[in-house]
């Protein structure tokens, strides 16, 4: 029974963190076929911005966090204008931008390594040391904060996409770019906005991640791969599916970690996704075909 509870507690936390970054990644792909390999670096960047504003600039945490998110949004906008903006009309956009963002990502991560050194930092924005017990399983308040934040943000993104005019334009662009333009949507603005939004979500996810473990320049690599795994499972571009798939992956990883051993969690989900890709390339909930180009 305790095993079960442990899996649920830890799986939901992982799922909450993955969902934020995966939803952003999926939105960006869905809107303009950009597989953003720098997503993980932005995750890390967001987490470091908290340190920068808090430690170096002496802000209170309640100010540092929103400032970090604003910086992440700006990073997303800059990313758009240095990469996608120039490449949108050229051939092989989807593969070229993937390589370009691999380059940007490594440059950014090594830049962080250079600036902050390889030693881990403790994320100041954390309540990890305070916890309560449920059936002898300790649950830290930090987990509650993560669940609540993820829930609020996901509901917020959902409302934005389904109820607001600009959110509808984002969905319309993802479903048919030409038609959206015919409706008067300035699609490039949509791209910038989506990348900024995705970067904010990534930053929140990065802050959460670092609050549960620690802050390191290269910490974005694994969560990026996990976010990719999630959106592949959901079917590329399926935003709602990404949410469910994130929770599924979180629970699966937690189950393997608790039942088999901590080091097998990641290989297990990698094998799972490879099998899914071979068996159902359009994803678990995929309706669309893989041949999108």
């Amino acid at each position: 029974m305790n095993f079960f509870l442990q899996i649920i507690v830890s799986g939901l936390t992982l799922g909450a963190m993955y969902s934020l970054s995966a939803v952003g990644l999926s939105l960006v792909w869905g809107s303009f076929n950009m597989l953003n390999m720098a997503h993980g670096a932005i995750m890390t960047l967001g987490a470091y911005f908290v340190i920068i504003w808090f430690d170096s600039m002496g802000m209170t945490l309640w100010l540092a966090a929103p400032f970090a998110l604003i910086c992440a949004a700006i990073a997303g906008v800059i990313l758009y204008f240095i990469s996608a903006h120039w490449m949108l009309t050229k051939r092989a956009f989807d593969t070229n931008i993937m390589i370009a963002t691999i380059g940007i990502s490594i440059a950014l991560q090594t830049g962080l390594l250079k600036a902050f050194g390889g030693e881990p930092y403790a994320q100041p924005l954390s309540l990890r040391s305070y916890s309560f017990m449920v059936n002898d399983v300790p649950v830290s308040y930090q987990r509650l904060v993560i669940w609540a934040t993820a829930l609020i943000l996901m509901v917020g993104v959902g409302i934005f996409l389904s109820r607001t005019n600009f959110g509808r334009a984002v969905r319309a662009t993802a479903q048919n770019r030409d038609a959206a333009q015919l409706m008067g949507v300035r699609v490039r603005r949509v791209y910038v906005a989506v990348l900024a939004l995705a970067s904010v979500l990534a930053a929140v996810s990065g802050i959460m991640l670092s609050s549960m473990k620690e802050l390191m320049p290269l910490m974005g690599g694994e969560p990026l791969l996990k976010a990719f795994i999630v959106i592949i499972l959901a079917g590329l571009g399926n935003v709602t599916g990404a949410l469910y798939a994130a929770i599924l992956v979180g629970l699966l990883e937690a189950a393997v970690q608790v039942l088999v051993g901590a080091q097998y969690g990641f290989p297990a989900i990698l094998i799972f996704v490879i099998l899914v890709l071979i068996w159902k390339p359009a994803g678990l909930f995929g309706r669309r075909t893989v041949a999108r180009q």
Binding site: N165, R168, A169, R171, A172, Q175, N176, D178, A179, A180, Q181, L182, M183, G184, V185, R186, V187
Partner: protein, 238 residues
């Protein structure tokens, strides 16, 4: 005749350096229904995409309301009042019918009047009201076409470009669609329409142009076309 709302002059366009439209010139007067007829692959859709701003012409001029609009992007064209109801409808498949209609009224001017205009559309196309919360992808072919037309009308443009409104529909549904087009014409809308066959529009259009390999080879009224069956024979194979 009334003043020209749309003027196309010496238009060339194509893909990858291969010309599809060659030296196209015609006018659309205000309040008129002008039709272009031509076989598949002779540039009808290319022309529509060019005027609507989805494709940049190689050379030539497009004027709308007396202003040069050549090569402006689609989102700019729609804000000036050129509305394309594209071939194949190009709906937003994973959005509900009403959300598709809302997208039609995306621009601020149209959005302000959305709630009253949508009632008008529902009055004209009652099927859309019944299906309003359904996803667009679940609609039948005829309903999709109606949604595409309704969505286009909500943009509140001054000219409607209709790209093969009868394409792929059953004859009885085509009747319904053309009834709608006739009503729009009676309301005084300016319409530019392309079709593969002249059957439905020969009595409806004010002026008909025949398109062959990207150029206009004949133009006149429907009556004139009926009087010269050899023309249809030559260009459209009867």
């Amino acid at each position: 005749m009334a003043e020209n709302l749309l003027t196309v002059e010496g238009l060339f366009a194509g893909y990858d350096g291969q010309p599809v439209l060659r030296d196209l010139t015609f006018d659309v007067p205000k309040g008129a229904l002008i039709a272009l007829i031509g076989p598949n692959g002779h540039g009808k859709t290319t022309l529509m995409r060019c005027i609507a701003g989805l494709l940049k012409p190689t050379t030539g001029k497009v004027e709308f309301s007396g202003k040069k609009v050549t090569g402006l992007p689609a989102e700019e064209m729609v804000s000036r009042g050129v509305v394309l109801i594209p071939q194949g409808d190009m709906l937003f498949p994973d959005m509900s019918v009403v959300d598709n209609l809302r997208m039609g009224a995306f621009l601020p001017a149209a959005r302000a009047k959305f709630s009253e205009n949508v009632e008008e559309i529902y009055g004209m196309l009652p099927r859309l009201k019944e299906r309003s919360s359904q996803m667009a992808r679940t609609l039948s072919g005829g309903e999709r076409r109606m949604l595409a037309i309704g969505r286009g009308l909500l943009s509140g443009g001054e000219i409607l470009l209709l790209d093969e409104p009868s394409l792929g529909l059953a004859p009885i549904v085509i009747d319904q669609i053309y009834e709608i087009i006739e009503n729009l014409r009676k309301q005084g809308r300016t319409i530019l329409l392309v079709e593969e066959s002249p059957n439905r529009i020969i009595d409806l259009a004010d002026h008909i142009h025949l398109l062959d390999t990207g150029s206009i080879v004949w133009d006149g009224t429907g009556q004139e076309l009926q009087a010269q069956p050899q023309i249809l024979e030559t260009y459209l194979g009867g």
